[in-house]
Amino acid sequence: MIKELLDASTVLNNKHVIQWKKNGKKVVGYTCSYVPDEVFHAAGILPFRIRGFGAADTTIGDTYFGPFVCSLPKCMLQLAGEGKFNFLDGVIITPGCDSMRRLDECWRKAGSDVDGVIPSFFFHYGVPHKYSDYTIKWLTEETHRLIAAVEEHFKVKITDENLHRSIKLYNQSRMLLDRFEAMRTLDAPPFNGEDALAVILAGTTMPREEYNSLLEKFLSEAENSPVIKNRVRLMLVGSANDDAGLVRVMEGEKAVVVADNLCFGSRFYTDQVEESGDPVSALSKRYLGHNDCPRMYGDYKRRLDILVQKVEKAKIDGVILQNIRFCDLHGSENGLFERDLEAMGIPCMRLEREYGPLVETGRMKMRVDAFIERIHQKKAIA
């Protein structure tokens, strides 16, 4: 089961997508976890999370982006430029962060330079940076604008009834992922962090109905799987990571990642969408309010509380605070997390990295090893 999920998590144009397209159906990609999948599902469109996974270099990305910019959107543009996203019928860009929102202009410019690089539906979805009555109102209107644009472009109708149905389906998925989360944080979990990430990622690349049934199978198999014991329990925090290989390097033989707060991780599935009432406003509330990215300024304490709760619940021995270079939002927040968590006696390690091919594994491994040694020492003293 894990094999199928792993394949779906590492191959962008995977067999599910190929089958979907064969049936004449559309796929819309998006770049940020603030975009509500349910809207596309309700339109009979496959929502697909755009990634930069597999980019070998960023020559195309660097043609459009300047220096001093995060390598994640550069890798995304690279893949787009290489035609790896040709299966997309549409793209949604958000102001998730500055590097990511400039993907809008860079992708469009690349599209005007080279035919076929950009799909015909290209939409900028404006997501506010704080949670209050008028920001929810804004996002609700913005979602209506998105719905109208999708309806017009793809000649579909997104009814409230369909939205309600989609919300229910995605909530089921979130419920399954809650079970998955509970298993992941067991004292002796039946799967490691590398597999966990693959399971989560697979959900962003395939139809939700298929994903739910695969996930269900995975969970029942996991219940009888051999468990992982006697390893240092880590939590992975910070910038986007969609590379299970990175988790593998960190885990090595001595550690296991049992929790995270990543946008390709637990942020993606925590909290349900309200099933009654106006579906668009319910979606806006969930996506704006229960998504713990540092782009939501001034909300640090709440995010710290979430980490502290996770540390307790998952019995975390140490927290790895990583950020992609030029990601000031996560990088700086990691500095605060380090100060505050260390003060509570929770060992932390900060790490800056590049997004893209795993080339610096030696350096990273050396530091993670030293961190694990530090945790062992701490335990030995206790």
């Binding site: 400039r102 202009e105 804004w138």
Partner: protein
């Protein structure tokens, strides 16, 4: 940070430096000349500004006054708010709050100190704030994080949706110092009913926040007086901008800096009006005589800066321009989007501009919301650069209006936002016929690229493009 740097409050030191500088020319010329040799790292600034005559003297006076306000806020029973350059301070003055504008203070330090803000920039990294963050806030915020500045009561910014690294500096400071935080959030669209309403609602939430922090209600009369003063300032700026269209441009190169700095420091206050009036007087005289504001008297080239300036020690950017006969035709910091600004009327952009309506409290607050949403950067960097009323359209419009021969981009490596699109932007401005130079320097940190290297490359560009 060196131990001695911690000995005195940095803002108190800065106040001292500027207060002393402002006194220099108040004695005899001989006294003035003999003092200069004691301030080798500051004399360039002092000379350039004081040589500008009365406007320069007034400008130094208000810099000193601003710092005095910061360091004496507490003894005068006033609250202090850390804020940003693109946030109109008019509301703070109306509510008896002393604004502490990070970028302006960073510029003051970069201009005057041998090491600029280097120690504070580095201090930020030591406490966990990323070194890739923008140096404009990082320079000053480091000093406040280190606890060697005035007491701060709250932190207020308006850059979410416009510039992450800026907004993040304030969010970090708030979490690090455990101070209340408020953000004005900017939607990607500037105009339209939805955006207008969002701006208004958000601004009302800001006032509520400020009232809670100060324990005082907003006084409409005070606000009205400030906005009337602001309207007066807009009138003067509009005339200055109009004069800058003349050939030769009668404005000395440093005027643009003094216009925006005065507004960032004291918008809506008589201090700002004083400097502007004095500049206008000189500019009118020059215009009447049809003489150039350049010290050489001959205008060879007109440059439009599409982003910010380079604040290397001793005003070296302005010196370079002046010596080479390059007329400074403004940047995005100096342009106002008041309804009467020349570029607004020239291009019929009244619907994009703001008007000041002092009728009642609602119209006052709405005016403020409009002003704030049209501040430099806030207005034109929020959406895609090529969208209507955004960076490209503004730059091309202004470059044409002011007859520029070239466009120059300078920022900081921390500016993810513009570095994410500047290559595309420059392609388009070049296509429109403007040689466009992208500086790879850091406006606030000469350690990234020394001023000498920056200057050499800039002059090289002019040569290669046959502009000189």
């Amino acid at each position: 940070m060196r131990k001695e740097t911690r000995e005195y409050n940095f803002d108190w030191m800065l106040w001292n430096s500027f207060t002393a500088a402002a006194q220099l020319k108040k004695g005899t010329e001989k006294e003035y000349r003999s003092m200069l040799k004691y301030i080798p790292y500051f004399r360039g600034v002092v000379e350039s500004i004081l040589d500008a005559g009365e406007p320069g003297q007034k400008f130094l006076d208000i810099c000193s006054k601003y710092m005095e306000n910061v360091i004496t806020a507490k003894e005068k029973g006033k609250k202090t708010a850390i804020t940003t350059f693109c946030f109109s301070p008019a509301i703070f003055y109306a509510m008896d709050i002393i604004p502490v504008c990070l970028e302006v203070i960073s510029v003051m330090m970069t201009f005057t100190y041998k090491r600029g803000t280097a120690e504070f920039l580095d201090y930020c990294n030591e406490v966990g704030y990323t070194e890739t963050s923008c140096s404009s806030q990082r320079g000053t915020i480091g000093a406040y994080l280190a606890g060697i500045g005035a007491d701060i009561d709250m932190i207020v910014t308006d850059t979410p949706g416009v510039c992450d690294t800026n907004a993040n500096a304030f969010a970090f400071a708030s979490a690090y110092l455990d101070k209340p935080f408020f953000q004005l959030d900017m939607p990607p669209d500037l105009t339209g009913e939805r955006s207008n309403e969002y701006h208004r609602e958000d601004y009302r939430a800001l006032i509520k926040f400020l009232e809670e922090q100060t324990g005082k209600k907003l006084d409409p009369e005070k606000l009205r007086a400030n906005l009337r003063e602001l309207a007066k300032q807009d009138e003067i700026i509009a005339e200055l901008e109009d004069l800058a269209r003349m050939v030769p441009n009668p404005l000395p190169v440093s005027y643009n800096l003094m216009v925006y700095a005065s507004r960032f420091l004291f918008a809506g206050m008589p201090e700002c009006t004083g400097v502007l009036e004095s500049m206008l007087e000189v500019a009118r005289e020059n215009a009447a005589k049809n003489i150039s504001g350049l010290s050489g008297g001959v205008e060879k080239l007109r440059a439009f800066f599409c982003y910010i300036d380079h604040y290397a020690q001793n005003l070296q950017l302005w010196k370079m321009l002046d010596i080479n006969g390059i007329c400074y035709q403004g940047n995005i910091l100096s342009r106002s989007w008041a309804h009467n600004a020349p570029h607004v009327t020239e291009y019929n952009k009244e619907e994009v501009a703001y008007t000041i309506d002092t009728t009642d409290i609602d119209s006052l607050i709405d005016s403020l919301a409009m002003i704030n949403s049209r501040m430099p950067m806030i207005k034109s960097i929020r959406g895609p650069y090529d969208a209507p009323n955004m960076w490209l359209e503004d730059t091309l419009g202004l470059a044409k209006l002011y007859n520029a021969d070239l466009i120059v981009y300078n920022g900081t490596p921390g500016c993810r936002n513009t570095w994410g699109m500047v290559k595309l932007f420059a392609r388009d401005t070049e296509k429109a016929g403007f040689p466009t130079y992208i500086m790879y320097a850091d406006a606030f940190d000469a350690r990234v690229q020394s001023w000498e290297a920056t200057e050499e490359r800039f002059m090289e560009f002019l040569k290669v493009r046959r502009l000189v």
